[in-house]
Amino acid sequence: MAKREISEINAGSMADIAFLLLIFFLVTTTMDTDTGLIRKLPPVLDEVEPPPPIKERNIFEVLVNANDQLLAEGEYIQVTELRAKVKDFIKSDPSNMDMPEFKETDIPGLGLVAVSKQIISLQNDNGTSYEMYIKVQNELVAAYNELRNEFAQQKFQKSYNELVQQSDASDANKEKMDAVKKFYPQRITEAEPKRVGGSN
Protein backbone atom coordinates (compact mmCIF):
# COMPACT_ATOMS: atom_id res chain seq x y z
CA MET A 1 0.00 0.00 0.00
CA ALA A 2 1.21 3.47 -0.73
CA LYS A 3 2.12 5.61 2.25
CA ARG A 4 -0.28 8.46 2.66
CA GLU A 5 1.46 11.76 3.15
CA ILE A 6 0.52 13.61 6.32
CA SER A 7 -0.42 17.12 5.41
CA GLU A 8 1.09 19.92 7.52
CA ILE A 9 -1.13 21.96 9.78
CA ASN A 10 -1.61 25.41 8.45
CA ALA A 11 -0.24 27.80 11.05
CA GLY A 12 -0.90 30.91 9.09
CA SER A 13 -3.70 32.08 11.37
CA MET A 14 -1.74 31.56 14.55
CA ALA A 15 -0.48 35.12 14.36
CA ASP A 16 -4.06 36.35 14.12
CA ILE A 17 -5.07 34.46 17.22
CA ALA A 18 -2.05 35.74 19.11
CA PHE A 19 -2.82 39.27 18.00
CA LEU A 20 -6.35 38.94 19.26
CA LEU A 21 -5.15 37.88 22.70
CA LEU A 22 -2.49 40.55 22.69
CA ILE A 23 -5.03 43.27 22.04
CA PHE A 24 -7.27 41.90 24.77
CA PHE A 25 -4.48 42.14 27.35
CA LEU A 26 -3.41 45.53 26.05
CA VAL A 27 -6.87 46.88 26.70
CA THR A 28 -7.44 45.34 30.13
CA THR A 29 -4.01 46.08 31.52
CA THR A 30 -3.39 48.83 34.08
CA MET A 31 0.25 49.55 34.54
CA ASP A 32 -0.05 52.12 37.30
CA THR A 33 1.15 51.00 40.69
CA ASP A 34 -0.50 52.55 43.67
CA THR A 35 1.59 55.13 45.46
CA GLY A 36 0.88 57.11 48.58
CA LEU A 37 1.76 58.21 52.07
CA ILE A 38 1.81 55.23 54.41
CA ARG A 39 0.64 55.85 57.95
CA LYS A 40 -0.10 53.87 61.04
CA LEU A 41 -3.22 54.61 63.03
CA PRO A 42 -2.98 54.42 66.80
CA PRO A 43 -4.82 51.44 68.27
CA VAL A 44 -7.96 52.08 70.27
CA LEU A 45 -7.27 52.39 73.96
CA ASP A 46 -9.39 50.14 76.13
CA GLU A 47 -9.19 52.09 79.32
CA VAL A 48 -9.43 55.77 79.56
CA GLU A 49 -6.01 56.31 80.95
CA PRO A 50 -4.73 59.84 81.00
CA PRO A 51 -1.67 60.06 78.75
CA PRO A 52 1.54 61.17 80.41
CA PRO A 53 1.88 64.93 80.39
CA ILE A 54 4.10 66.35 77.67
CA LYS A 55 5.88 69.64 78.12
CA GLU A 56 4.68 72.46 75.97
CA ARG A 57 8.12 73.09 74.54
CA ASN A 58 8.29 69.57 73.11
CA ILE A 59 5.13 69.94 71.05
CA PHE A 60 4.91 71.58 67.66
CA GLU A 61 1.30 72.41 67.06
CA VAL A 62 -0.11 72.50 63.55
CA LEU A 63 -3.71 73.57 63.08
CA VAL A 64 -5.66 73.62 59.82
CA ASN A 65 -9.04 75.30 59.74
CA ALA A 66 -12.08 74.89 57.50
CA ASN A 67 -10.79 77.53 55.08
CA ASP A 68 -7.58 75.58 54.56
CA GLN A 69 -5.54 78.11 56.51
CA LEU A 70 -2.55 76.95 58.45
CA LEU A 71 -1.46 77.87 61.94
CA ALA A 72 1.92 76.58 63.13
CA GLU A 73 2.87 77.31 66.74
CA GLY A 74 0.38 80.15 66.81
CA GLU A 75 1.68 81.74 63.64
CA TYR A 76 -0.26 82.05 60.39
CA ILE A 77 1.93 80.70 57.57
CA GLN A 78 1.77 79.23 54.09
CA VAL A 79 2.20 75.51 53.41
CA THR A 80 5.50 76.07 51.65
CA GLU A 81 6.97 77.69 54.77
CA LEU A 82 6.00 74.78 56.99
CA ARG A 83 8.83 72.44 56.04
CA ALA A 84 11.64 74.76 57.17
CA LYS A 85 9.88 75.55 60.46
CA VAL A 86 9.31 71.89 61.25
CA LYS A 87 12.90 71.06 60.41
CA ASP A 88 14.19 73.72 62.80
CA PHE A 89 11.92 72.39 65.49
CA ILE A 90 12.90 68.73 65.06
CA LYS A 91 16.60 69.55 65.02
CA SER A 92 16.11 71.65 68.15
CA ASP A 93 18.63 73.90 69.79
CA PRO A 94 20.07 73.27 73.26
CA SER A 95 20.50 77.00 73.96
CA ASN A 96 16.87 77.85 73.16
CA MET A 97 14.41 77.20 75.98
CA ASP A 98 11.45 77.11 73.62
CA MET A 99 12.85 74.26 71.57
CA PRO A 100 12.43 70.58 72.52
CA GLU A 101 14.48 68.96 75.24
CA PHE A 102 17.08 66.28 74.60
CA LYS A 103 17.28 62.82 76.00
CA GLU A 104 20.46 60.79 76.14
CA THR A 105 19.75 57.60 74.23
CA ASP A 106 21.91 54.64 73.40
CA ILE A 107 21.54 53.88 69.70
CA PRO A 108 23.36 50.85 68.26
CA GLY A 109 25.85 52.13 65.70
CA LEU A 110 25.90 55.65 67.10
CA GLY A 111 26.53 55.20 70.78
CA LEU A 112 25.16 57.54 73.40
CA VAL A 113 23.61 60.53 71.65
CA ALA A 114 21.21 63.32 72.52
CA VAL A 115 17.89 62.75 70.77
CA SER A 116 15.39 65.56 70.74
CA LYS A 117 12.05 64.81 72.39
CA GLN A 118 10.03 66.44 69.63
CA ILE A 119 6.40 65.64 68.91
CA ILE A 120 4.34 67.12 66.13
CA SER A 121 0.67 67.49 66.81
CA LEU A 122 -1.62 67.90 63.84
CA GLN A 123 -5.19 68.99 64.24
CA ASN A 124 -7.60 69.61 61.43
CA ASP A 125 -11.17 70.72 61.13
CA ASN A 126 -13.95 68.62 59.66
CA GLY A 127 -14.28 71.18 56.90
CA THR A 128 -10.62 71.05 55.87
CA SER A 129 -10.20 69.85 52.31
CA TYR A 130 -8.43 66.55 51.81
CA GLU A 131 -6.03 68.18 49.39
CA MET A 132 -4.81 70.57 52.08
CA TYR A 133 -4.57 67.78 54.63
CA ILE A 134 -2.34 65.74 52.31
CA LYS A 135 -0.20 68.80 51.61
CA VAL A 136 0.43 69.30 55.31
CA GLN A 137 1.09 65.62 55.91
CA ASN A 138 3.45 65.62 52.97
CA GLU A 139 5.42 68.58 54.30
CA LEU A 140 5.76 66.95 57.71
CA VAL A 141 7.07 63.72 56.21
CA ALA A 142 9.34 65.72 53.90
CA ALA A 143 10.87 67.55 56.87
CA TYR A 144 11.73 64.26 58.56
CA ASN A 145 13.11 62.80 55.34
CA GLU A 146 15.32 65.79 54.65
CA LEU A 147 16.74 65.76 58.16
CA ARG A 148 17.39 62.04 57.96
CA ASN A 149 19.10 62.49 54.61
CA GLU A 150 21.34 65.24 55.94
CA PHE A 151 22.21 63.31 59.06
CA ALA A 152 22.98 60.09 57.17
CA GLN A 153 25.09 61.97 54.66
CA GLN A 154 27.11 63.53 57.44
CA LYS A 155 27.54 60.34 59.46
CA PHE A 156 27.75 57.61 56.82
CA GLN A 157 28.43 59.55 53.60
CA LYS A 158 25.24 58.14 52.17
CA SER A 159 21.78 59.63 52.04
CA TYR A 160 18.96 58.03 54.01
CA ASN A 161 17.14 57.16 50.80
CA GLU A 162 20.17 55.21 49.60
CA LEU A 163 20.36 53.38 52.92
CA VAL A 164 16.71 52.40 52.65
CA GLN A 165 17.20 51.11 49.13
CA GLN A 166 20.27 49.09 50.12
CA SER A 167 18.91 47.88 53.46
CA ASP A 168 17.65 44.62 51.94
CA ALA A 169 21.04 43.82 50.48
CA SER A 170 23.30 44.27 53.49
CA ASP A 171 22.85 44.12 57.25
CA ALA A 172 25.33 46.93 57.80
CA ASN A 173 23.15 49.32 55.83
CA LYS A 174 20.07 48.15 57.66
CA GLU A 175 21.71 48.91 60.97
CA LYS A 176 22.69 52.37 59.75
CA MET A 177 19.16 52.96 58.51
CA ASP A 178 17.71 51.98 61.87
CA ALA A 179 20.18 54.21 63.67
CA VAL A 180 19.18 57.23 61.58
CA LYS A 181 15.53 56.36 62.12
CA LYS A 182 16.06 56.27 65.87
CA PHE A 183 17.93 59.55 65.87
CA TYR A 184 15.06 61.30 64.11
CA PRO A 185 12.00 59.27 65.06
CA GLN A 186 8.87 60.26 63.17
CA ARG A 187 6.39 61.37 65.81
CA ILE A 188 3.25 62.81 64.32
CA THR A 189 0.09 62.65 66.37
CA GLU A 190 -3.34 63.57 65.21
CA ALA A 191 -5.80 65.01 67.62
CA GLU A 192 -9.49 64.26 67.35
CA PRO A 193 -10.97 66.74 64.88
CA LYS A 194 -13.15 69.54 66.08
CA ARG A 195 -16.25 70.86 64.43
CA VAL A 196 -15.55 74.52 64.67
CA GLY A 197 -15.58 75.49 61.01
CA GLY A 198 -19.33 75.19 60.73
CA SER A 199 -19.41 73.85 57.19
CA ASN A 200 -19.24 70.13 56.69
Binding site: A15, A18, F25, L37, G127, Y130, P193
Partner: protein, 159 residues
Protein backbone atom coordinates in the same frame (compact mmCIF):
# COMPACT_ATOMS: atom_id res chain seq x y z
CA UNK B 1 24.69 46.14 -24.53
CA UNK B 2 25.78 45.58 -20.97
CA UNK B 3 26.29 42.09 -19.74
CA UNK B 4 24.41 42.83 -16.52
CA UNK B 5 21.28 44.16 -18.07
CA UNK B 6 18.24 42.86 -16.38
CA UNK B 7 16.48 40.21 -18.25
CA UNK B 8 12.80 40.91 -18.02
CA UNK B 9 10.93 42.08 -14.94
CA UNK B 10 11.55 40.35 -11.61
CA UNK B 11 8.94 40.53 -8.88
CA UNK B 12 10.21 41.59 -5.42
CA UNK B 13 10.44 38.65 -3.03
CA UNK B 14 7.78 38.64 -0.29
CA UNK B 15 8.78 39.51 3.26
CA UNK B 16 9.27 36.43 5.36
CA UNK B 17 6.64 36.51 8.09
CA UNK B 18 7.54 33.23 9.73
CA UNK B 19 8.88 34.98 12.83
CA UNK B 20 5.84 37.20 13.23
CA UNK B 21 3.94 34.82 15.56
CA UNK B 22 7.04 34.59 17.76
CA UNK B 23 7.23 38.34 18.12
CA UNK B 24 3.55 38.65 18.83
CA UNK B 25 3.70 35.86 21.39
CA UNK B 26 6.57 37.57 23.12
CA UNK B 27 4.54 40.75 23.47
CA UNK B 28 1.53 38.74 24.52
CA UNK B 29 3.40 37.06 27.36
CA UNK B 30 4.80 40.38 28.49
CA UNK B 31 1.34 41.86 28.84
CA UNK B 32 -0.07 38.71 30.37
CA UNK B 33 2.54 38.81 33.09
CA UNK B 34 2.33 42.52 33.83
CA UNK B 35 -1.42 42.85 33.63
CA UNK B 36 -3.69 43.47 36.56
CA UNK B 37 -7.34 43.22 35.79
CA UNK B 38 -9.46 46.21 36.59
CA UNK B 39 -11.34 44.98 39.60
CA UNK B 40 -13.83 47.65 40.35
CA UNK B 41 -15.63 50.19 38.30
CA UNK B 42 -15.49 53.57 39.93
CA UNK B 43 -18.74 55.08 41.07
CA UNK B 44 -17.21 58.13 42.67
CA UNK B 45 -15.12 60.92 41.26
CA UNK B 46 -11.60 60.15 42.19
CA UNK B 47 -8.75 62.51 41.54
CA UNK B 48 -6.21 61.88 44.26
CA UNK B 49 -4.05 64.78 45.47
CA UNK B 50 -0.37 65.11 44.66
CA UNK B 51 2.54 64.73 47.06
CA UNK B 52 6.31 64.57 46.87
CA UNK B 53 7.18 62.05 49.57
CA UNK B 54 5.27 59.07 48.22
CA UNK B 55 6.28 55.47 48.54
CA UNK B 56 5.15 52.53 46.45
CA UNK B 57 2.76 49.91 47.74
CA UNK B 58 4.65 46.69 47.42
CA UNK B 59 2.23 43.80 47.28
CA UNK B 60 -0.98 44.35 45.43
CA UNK B 61 -2.61 41.25 46.86
CA UNK B 62 -2.29 42.75 50.33
CA UNK B 63 -3.98 46.04 49.56
CA UNK B 64 -7.65 46.77 50.12
CA UNK B 65 -9.16 49.88 48.62
CA UNK B 66 -11.65 52.34 50.04
CA UNK B 67 -12.88 54.99 47.65
CA UNK B 68 -14.33 58.28 48.88
CA UNK B 69 -15.66 61.10 46.75
CA UNK B 70 -18.81 62.51 45.28
CA UNK B 71 -20.77 60.25 42.91
CA UNK B 72 -19.90 60.44 39.21
CA UNK B 73 -22.08 62.60 36.94
CA UNK B 74 -24.21 59.70 35.71
CA UNK B 75 -25.18 58.74 39.26
CA UNK B 76 -25.69 62.20 40.70
CA UNK B 77 -29.38 62.21 39.83
CA UNK B 78 -29.94 59.17 42.01
CA UNK B 79 -27.40 59.69 44.77
CA UNK B 80 -26.83 63.44 44.99
CA UNK B 81 -23.49 65.17 45.25
CA UNK B 82 -22.56 64.58 48.87
CA UNK B 83 -19.36 62.53 49.24
CA UNK B 84 -19.87 58.81 49.54
CA UNK B 85 -17.89 55.72 50.41
CA UNK B 86 -17.45 53.01 47.83
CA UNK B 87 -16.36 49.55 48.93
CA UNK B 88 -15.79 47.02 46.17
CA UNK B 89 -18.54 47.77 43.69
CA UNK B 90 -21.22 49.49 45.67
CA UNK B 91 -21.94 52.57 47.73
CA UNK B 92 -21.71 51.80 51.41
CA UNK B 93 -22.10 53.65 54.66
CA UNK B 94 -19.81 53.98 57.65
CA UNK B 95 -21.54 51.11 59.43
CA UNK B 96 -20.50 48.70 56.68
CA UNK B 97 -16.79 49.25 57.19
CA UNK B 98 -16.26 46.75 60.06
CA UNK B 99 -17.89 44.04 57.95
CA UNK B 100 -15.80 45.01 54.94
CA UNK B 101 -12.65 44.80 57.05
CA UNK B 102 -13.66 41.35 58.27
CA UNK B 103 -14.38 40.11 54.75
CA UNK B 104 -11.09 41.40 53.39
CA UNK B 105 -9.20 39.80 56.26
CA UNK B 106 -10.93 36.47 55.71
CA UNK B 107 -9.87 36.41 52.08
CA UNK B 108 -6.20 36.47 53.01
CA UNK B 109 -4.06 33.83 54.66
CA UNK B 110 -4.03 33.92 58.41
CA UNK B 111 -0.39 34.91 58.68
CA UNK B 112 -0.83 37.86 56.35
CA UNK B 113 -3.94 39.35 57.88
CA UNK B 114 -2.06 41.93 59.87
CA UNK B 115 -0.08 43.05 56.86
CA UNK B 116 -3.02 44.33 54.86
CA UNK B 117 -2.67 47.95 53.82
CA UNK B 118 -5.90 49.88 53.66
CA UNK B 119 -5.52 52.29 50.82
CA UNK B 120 -7.75 55.35 51.06
CA UNK B 121 -8.41 56.70 47.61
CA UNK B 122 -10.00 60.00 48.41
CA UNK B 123 -10.91 62.72 45.96
CA UNK B 124 -8.96 65.91 46.62
CA UNK B 125 -12.10 68.05 46.94
CA UNK B 126 -13.54 65.94 49.74
CA UNK B 127 -13.80 67.47 53.19
CA UNK B 128 -11.94 65.84 56.05
CA UNK B 129 -15.08 65.06 58.07
CA UNK B 130 -15.94 61.85 56.24
CA UNK B 131 -12.29 60.82 55.99
CA UNK B 132 -11.85 61.16 59.74
CA UNK B 133 -14.98 59.11 60.34
CA UNK B 134 -13.67 56.36 58.09
CA UNK B 135 -10.32 56.43 59.84
CA UNK B 136 -12.05 56.11 63.20
CA UNK B 137 -14.02 53.10 61.95
CA UNK B 138 -10.83 51.50 60.67
CA UNK B 139 -9.16 52.05 64.00
CA UNK B 140 -12.00 50.39 65.81
CA UNK B 141 -11.94 47.48 63.36
CA UNK B 142 -8.21 47.03 64.04
CA UNK B 143 -7.18 47.99 60.53
CA UNK B 144 -4.29 50.22 61.39
CA UNK B 145 -1.94 50.25 58.43
CA UNK B 146 -3.35 52.82 56.10
CA UNK B 147 -2.17 54.55 52.98
CA UNK B 148 -3.30 57.90 51.68
CA UNK B 149 -3.23 57.29 47.96
CA UNK B 150 -1.48 60.17 46.20
CA UNK B 151 0.19 60.82 42.90
CA UNK B 152 3.84 61.70 42.70
CA UNK B 153 4.84 65.22 41.87
CA UNK B 154 8.04 67.23 42.10
CA UNK B 155 6.82 70.28 43.93
CA UNK B 156 3.73 71.29 45.83
CA UNK B 157 2.30 74.75 45.50
CA UNK B 158 0.45 77.20 47.69
CA UNK B 159 -3.22 76.52 47.05
Amino acid sequence: MSKFRKKGKKSAPGVNTAALPDIVFMLLFFFMVTTVMRETSLKVENITPKATEVSKLERKSLVAYIYIGKPIKALQAAFGTAPRIQLNDAFKTLEDIPLFVEMEKKERDEVERNKITWSLKVDQKTKMGIVTDVKQELREADALKINYSTKKTDKILNN
